[in-house]
């Protein structure tokens, strides 16, 4: 029983971090109907930058998130303007191929610039834990989860309390109506993409402490995040939190009770099962184009 509760605690902590990482992916999908397959590579890029900052200055990795966040914001904006804006009217499969190409370029680029080895950021609290009765809460997980939740709350406030945020949400709910009331769809799209990339900035900084990573880790990450947003409902922000917590628990359970090797399979199976049984996910709106008439 204690083992079970401990597993769930760890699952929830990691799920909180996942929800921040996946929020950008779902936001992009909701507003511009694009799946950014390079989202995982964005995360790894930010983790790598955090590692460099930590290595050279000794700055706390979570504090470094305050640098990587604006950095990834700008990066996301540039990526949108350079590439995605040109094909925003193409078939969805083309945007998937484009962002997949971008992920490969980033993976290769990171491998060339830094040596292609496993890294992880190990601040002083790296291997210590808080103790709560018989249970332990690893400090990096706790700090990471708190930081992620803080960032999510700020994001949520930004989306609901500002005009820009409302424009983004309006575009995600009904793009043509949003255009009719004077929202410029291209600038909203660029902004959304930048904001979503900014979440990978902070998310990547957290990642660098919690996980070892190397350039090709982005495959694992994009699979995780896709599993989460597919389960929660693509385009839904509350859905992301539910999906992230559920899959965080499922992953730690598999790792604890079955084998660490099969833990990542959970995400592939979830993606397959959800897309087949309930393609709109838990909280998503049913998209007719994603279901064949069979």
């Amino acid at each position: 029983m204690e083992k079970l509760i401990q597993t769930i605690i760890l699952g929830l902590l990691i799920g909180g971090v996942y929800s921040l990482m996946a929020s950008g992916l779902t936001l992009i999908f909701g507003v511009m109907n694009i799946i950014n397959v390079a989202h995982g590579a964005f995360l790894v890029l930010s983790a790598l930058v955090t590692w460099e900052i930590w290595k050279t200055t000794g700055m706390d990795p979570l504090l470094a998130g305050l640098i990587t966040t604006p950095m990834m914001f700008v990066f996301g904006w540039v990526v949108y303007k350079l590439f995605l804006q040109r094909i925003r009217n193409s078939a969805p499969s083309m945007t998937v191929l484009l962002t997949f190409g971008l992920a490969l370029v980033l993976e290769g680029g990171m491998g060339i610039v830094t040596r292609n080895v496993f890294r992880s950021v190990t601040p002083s609290y790296f291997s210590s834990s808080f103790h709560l009765g018989p249970f332990f809460l690893p400090k990096p997980q706790v700090y990471g989860c708190i930081a992620a939740i803080t960032f999510m709350v700020l994001l949520y406030l930004g989306l609901t309390r500002t005009w820009t945020g409302r424009a983004i949400r309006a575009s995600s709910q009904n793009l043509s109506s949003a255009q009719l009331i004077g929202i410029s769809s291209t600038s909203v799209a660029a902004l959304t993409f930048a904001v979503a990339a900014a979440t990978t900035g902070f998310g990547g900084s957290i990642l660098s402490v919690l996980f070892t990573f190397f350039p090709a880790s982005h495959y694992v990450w994009i699979s995780r995040l896709l599993g989460i947003i597919v389960l929660g409902g693509m385009g839904s922000l509350p859905g992301v939190v539910i999906g992230a917590l559920a899959l965080g628990i499922a992953e730690t359970m598999t790792a604890t009770y079955i084998s660490l090797r099969w833990a990542t399979v959970v995400f592939y199976v979830v993606i397959l099962a959800v897309l087949l049984v309930r393609p709109q996910g838990i909280l998503g709106v049913k998209l007719r184009q994603d279901v064949a008439v069979a």
Binding site: I35, S90, P92, V105, E107, L272, D290, V291, A294
Partner: protein, 611 residues
């Protein structure tokens, strides 16, 4: 040469001279340059990539389902052949066909599942499957050797033969795969696949069993990939999950097809011969796998951004446009529509009993969220009539059509056609029963020619029919007869998307007639076309009706309805308001109310606010 023409059904074209010369050069190369092992190996890899590209083109080019999991079939073929030949001490060449079989079986099983999704979901699911296969391969060590991989026996043949057996067998598979793909494109199966790519829902409505078609296409894209995988494993003598279920292999396949031209016949093979040598060049000049990633990723982005149609498609388009310029656009103007109306020979005998109800709708309802589009609606369409269905905008007429043809499922109620309950049937099953429809905004397959559009419908499903020649023989004669009947015989070779709206309506009617329908639903046939053409359409409808076809007509053009239809059914707010002879309907106070908007329960509505 004759043999090729027979297999592919194409007339001899200059492209064949180039292709045969190239093939001769590839056959001769190892014999003339036996010491150039490096180039032979590059060519072997190129053939392998071409097999993958041609196969992928069947499911992603013809059918329009973009997959990033194509290399999974390579891996499955490779592992099947490796495991069987190692355990039984068999020659991998003999076992290679089993690799194809295994890939086909896997394609059947996962095809039945993944073909239910499309768009984003389909791409994601294929990536997930590939990574899943890789993880399974890594974790099932007892079968696959895990990350240590499997080592196959070394080839036993005389060293003088070098790698010739690998080279020629892969070249042979490439040629066979290519001929197979050409053959598919010429069959009714191939036409059906293109129809699915262009408009899947419509394809179902004209009798194409889309599920079986898509799964068959998936299998067709797996077989040769699996065989090639077996030979590739033997060639490598060592395989491991990371190399065999490699997403980069999928990416290079996608890249080759996009560069060459997705959906075209020659594109994939041309693309493979461009991409693989470039890939080799990056291997030689930019050392390391990291720069290959940058190359592949960058090339994929560049192709998607700047050349999404590919080389072959761009070139063929150029020549087609030039040909057309010479001929001028005269044939596309309205005058060319023939006004003759030859007698039809192709319609099936209609059931006699004129008084019986051909279609019966009983209490059908359909809601979209809070909007009750169709509300417990009941009516009948009697055999041999032209029944009109009229009602104000938003009264649920098109939704009713969608319920009848199977594009939507009713929330409740019964729909009966020829005495059979059909509300639970697939659209294609209803089409096979003899139910056809046209659309308010025409939905022809725009990239197909007019003739192909008319050939595409299927009045029944038989597995044998998949292989039937789609471009020649009785099917073509039948389609031409129907095109002549509607007056569009001269337009057979035009692209459907180039026609005017009115012409498209005529073609769509011919397309529906190809189903040999008993009941045709016409959704606003006169909407948006000129009066002369309306007259002509009315004449066609009356003529077809006399030949036994029953019509249900939604129309806002009242003179036309009153002229053609008897009885006329009036619907308002999703249910039947009145039914009767046109003259009664014209005088019915309820109907006038509905049209003028003075609803009896809307007392606050001022008269001047109406209609």
């Amino acid at each position: 040469m004759k043999a090729i023409e027979e297999v592919t059904g194409t007339r001899f074209k200059p492209v064949w001279i180039v292709a045969l010369l190239a093939l001769a050069a590839l056959i001769a190369f190892p014999l003339l340059q036996p010491d150039d092992i490096y180039r032979q190996n590059v060519l072997f890899q190129t053939f392998l990539l071409a097999v993958g590209a041609i196969s992928w083109n069947i499911v992603s080019g013809f059918t329009g389902y973009v997959s990033l999991g194509q290399s999974a079939f390579l891996g499955i073929g490779a592992y099947t052949v490796a495991i069987i030949s190692i355990r039984n001490g068999l020659d991998p060449f003999l076992v290679a066909p089993l690799g194809g079989l295994a890939a086909a079986l896997v394609a059947l099983v996962i095809g039945l599942i993944v073909m239910r999704t499309r768009g984003h979901a389909f791409v994601i699911i294929t990536i997930a499957l590939l990574l899943l296969f890789q993880t399974i391969g890594l974790n099932l060590g007892s079968l696959t050797g895990g990350s240590n991989g499997l080592t196959l026996p070394l080839p036993q043949w005389n060293v003088d033969y070098q790698n010739f057996p690998f080279y020629y067998s892969m070249l042979g598979i490439m040629v066979i795969t290519h001929l197979f793909s050409m053959w598919i494109r010429r069959t009714k199966f191939g036409t059906g696949l293109i129809a699915i790519r262009e408009d899947e829902q419509k394809a179902g409505g004209i009798g194409i069993h889309t599920t079986r078609y898509k799964v068959s296409a998936f299998i067709a894209s797996a077989v040769f990939m699996g065989i090639a995988g077996g030979i590739y494993a033997y060639y490598l003598t060592f395989i491991d999950p990371r190399g065999m279920f490699d997403i980069l292999v999928s990416v290079s396949i996608v890249l080759a097809v996009l560069v060459g031209g997705r959906g075209s016949i020659w594109g994939p093979i041309v693309g493979a011969f461009i991409v693989q040598p470039l890939n080799e060049a990056t291997n030689v000049y930019a050392k390391g796998s990291q720069s290959r990633l940058v190359f592949f990723g960058g090339a994929l982005m560049a192709v998607v951004l700047f050349m999404p149609d590919g080389i072959v498609t761009t070139i063929t388009r150029f020549f087609r446009d030039r040909r057309r310029r010479g001929r001028g656009v005269a044939s596309l103007v309205q005058d060319a529509i023939s006004t003759e109306r030859p007698k039809l020979t192709v319609l099936r005998d209609q059931e006699a009993d004129p008084s019986s109800a051909l279609l019966r709708v009983e209490g059908a309802s359909k809601a979209f969220g809070g909007l009750q589009a169709v509300d417990a609606c009941s009516f009948e369409v009697r055999q041999g009539t032209i029944t009109g269905l009229i009602g104000p905008n938003g009264s649920g007429k098109t939704t009713m059509f969608n319920l009848i043809t199977g594009m939507m499922t009713p929330d409740s109620g019964e729909i009966e056609f020829r005495g059979r309950r059909i509300e639970g049937l697939h659209a294609w099953d209803r089409a096979h029963l003899g139910l056809g429809r046209t659309y308010q905004i025409t939905r022809l397959f725009r990239q197909m020619t007019v003739l192909e559009n008319v050939i595409a419908p299927l009045s029944e499903f038989r597995w044998r029919q998949l292989g039937a020649d789609g471009m020649h023989g009785p099917e073509k004669d039948k389609a031409l007869e129907l095109l002549n009947y509607v007056g569009m015989g001269k337009f057979g070779e035009e692209r459907a998307g180039d026609l005017s709206f009115g012409q498209q309506k005529l073609v769509e009617l011919a397309q529906v007639l190809m189903l040999e329908p008993r009941l045709v639903l016409l959704d606003e046939p006169a909407g948006g076309i000129n009066p002369v053409l309306i007259e002509r359409l009315a004449g066609l409808i009356q003529d077809l009706n006399q030949q036994g076809i029953t019509f249900l007509l939604v129309e806002h053009n009242m003179p036309l309805v009153l002229k053609l239809c008897d009885p006329v059914i009036v619907v308002a707010r999703g249910s039947r308001l009145a039914e009767g002879h046109p003259d009664e309907i014209r005088r019915n106070p309820l109907v006038l109310d509905a049209y003028l908007g003075e609803g009896s329960d809307d007392d606050e509505l001022e008269p001047e606010a109406a209609g």
